[in-house]
């Protein structure tokens, strides 16, 4: 256990330390969401209509793109070799890293959402609903992205390839995330149904993501 805490703490520290990745995700999220009105034009009704969708798309991109170097950085400096040689099960190590990542990237997205809701002309209740769905859904994005991050080590390639491989897998999360938000905002469907499915998707992706990522890392070692 102590070794997992150590790994979690190290990744957490790396992210919040000057130059770490924490914060960048939120900034990216903020910028992408604020760019949208520039592209679409300042039509308030339209913005409110597509607000939850834009927020979810922004969060999706911010989550996946920050995952890019989660394992690659460890691979390139040789840390991954040592992690693979340790007696801590790789699945747990992967989960610890994912937890640190979500805490430093996913959670800030959730916290920033009410603010952005303002820009998107959403009322307080609607913003809260979107934030709640993001709270339930962003872990799924992290865990799905984990697979891509591990594959990019196995492939010795990073960057967008990861996003390209992983984005199609996030479609169900996106659909139910937006559906739950819209259900809360405009109805007529009950909020509970899509939200429950969203939570279920998060659980499933936790298991699948962690195991697939660990498998990919093991396979990636030649």
């Amino acid at each position: 256990m102590s070794s997992l805490t150590a790994l979690f703490m190290r990744d957490f520290r790396l992210a919040i330390r000057v130059g770490g990745g924490g914060g960048i995700g939120v900034l990216f999220f903020l910028i992408v969401v604020t760019l949208t009105p520039f592209a679409i034009g300042p039509d308030l009704a339209l913005l409110a209509r597509i607000g939850p969708a834009i927020l979810w798309l922004g969060a999706l991109l911010a989550s996946l793109l920050t995952l890019d170097r989660l394992f690659t950085a460890d691979y390139e400096d040789g840390s991954l070799d040592l992690v693979l040689m340790a007696d801590t099960p790789l699945e747990l190590a992967v989960a610890a890293k994912a937890a640190a990542h979500w805490l430093t990237t996913g959670l800030p997205l959730v916290i920033a959402t009410p603010l952005l809701g303002l820009f998107m002309n959403l009322d307080a209740g609607a913003s809260a609903a979107v934030a709640l769905t993001l709270l339930a859904g962003t872990p799924a994005l992290t865990f799905i992205g984990l697979i891509g991050a591990a594959l990019s080590v196995a492939l010795r390639r990073g960057g967008l390839l990861l996003a390209v491989l992983v984005l199609p897998l996030t479609v169900p999360v996106l659909i139910f995330g937006v559906a739950a938000s819209n259900a809360a905002i405009i109805g007529p469907l009950p909020f509970g149904t899509p939200f429950t499915i969203l939570c279920a998707l998060t659980m499933i992706s936790l298991v699948v993501g962690v195991f697939a990522a660990a498998a990919a890392l093991r396979q990636g070692m030649e």
């Binding site: 790994l7 190290r10 040592l82 992690v83 693979l84 040689m85 007696d87 030649e222």
Partner: protein, 208 residues
């Protein structure tokens, strides 16, 4: 220094083969190494020295043959009982020297306090410097500190003297001698002397 196990350890390779990128690097490799002994792997550039070490560390797939360690902890695999010191130093530039070493000591289940290990390799004064500021040799010394702070019976060293100055080479030689005296095993790939007398040598054949 205390012995690792009551029973003497023994690392054996029989008809080991290695394939990288679809090419056979070596095959039919045999060696036996008892506790307290060192094996120097030599050979030309590309002969497969690094590959052999990574294979022992479980980082390259064994394409044929067998590797066995007797007398070690039966519950753990060979990599779990080994230290691997490769060309990369497993350091995070934004963490300090002490944080870097402290992390590995805790993650690998460390023994000696990191401070002692840093003093051993002569980095005590730099403990609070970010690792980004280290010179090539200082990074290498920090890697050596890992060997000291976590106790593992098998040491796999890939050109351990690279970038080290005379003084650090002496520190390394000293560490090696103490490790061997404690019944540990050392397998080192090298192009030059590493300060161990009477070590076995395994010369890998052919390539570029």
């Amino acid at each position: 220094m205390q012995a690792y196990q009551d029973v003497a350890m023994r690392l054996e390779a029989s008809s080991l083969a290695c394939v990288r990128g679809g090419r056979e690097v070596f095959s039919g490799l045999e060696f036996t190494l008892g506790g307290g002994a060192a094996l120097l792997i030599t050979g030309r550039n590309g002969a497969g020295k690094s590959s052999l070490l990574r294979m022992l560390a479980g980082l390259v797939r064994i394409a044929g043959g067998q590797l066995t360690l007797t007398g070690g902890d039966p519950e753990r695999t060979i990599p779990e009982q080994a230290h691997y010191l490769g060309h990369l130093d497993a350091l995070k530039p934004s963490l300090t020297v002490a944080e870097n070493l402290g992390f590995w000591a805790r993650y690998l289940g460390g023994g000696a306090a990191p401070a002692t290990a840093l003093a051993t390799v002569g980095l005590a004064a730099l403990a609070d410097l970010p690792a980004a500021y280290l010179s090539a040799g200082q990074r290498r010394r920090l890697s050596l500190a890992r060997l000291v702070s976590v106790k593992r019976p098998v040491w796999l060293l890939d050109e351990p003297t690279a970038a080290l100055d005379r003084e650090a080479q002496d520190v390394l030689a000293d560490l090696l001698k103490r490790h061997l005296a404690g019944g540990g095993l050392v397998v080192a790939a090298t192009h030059g002397p590493i300060g161990l007398d009477g070590a076995q040598e395994l010369r890998l054949g052919a390539p570029a």
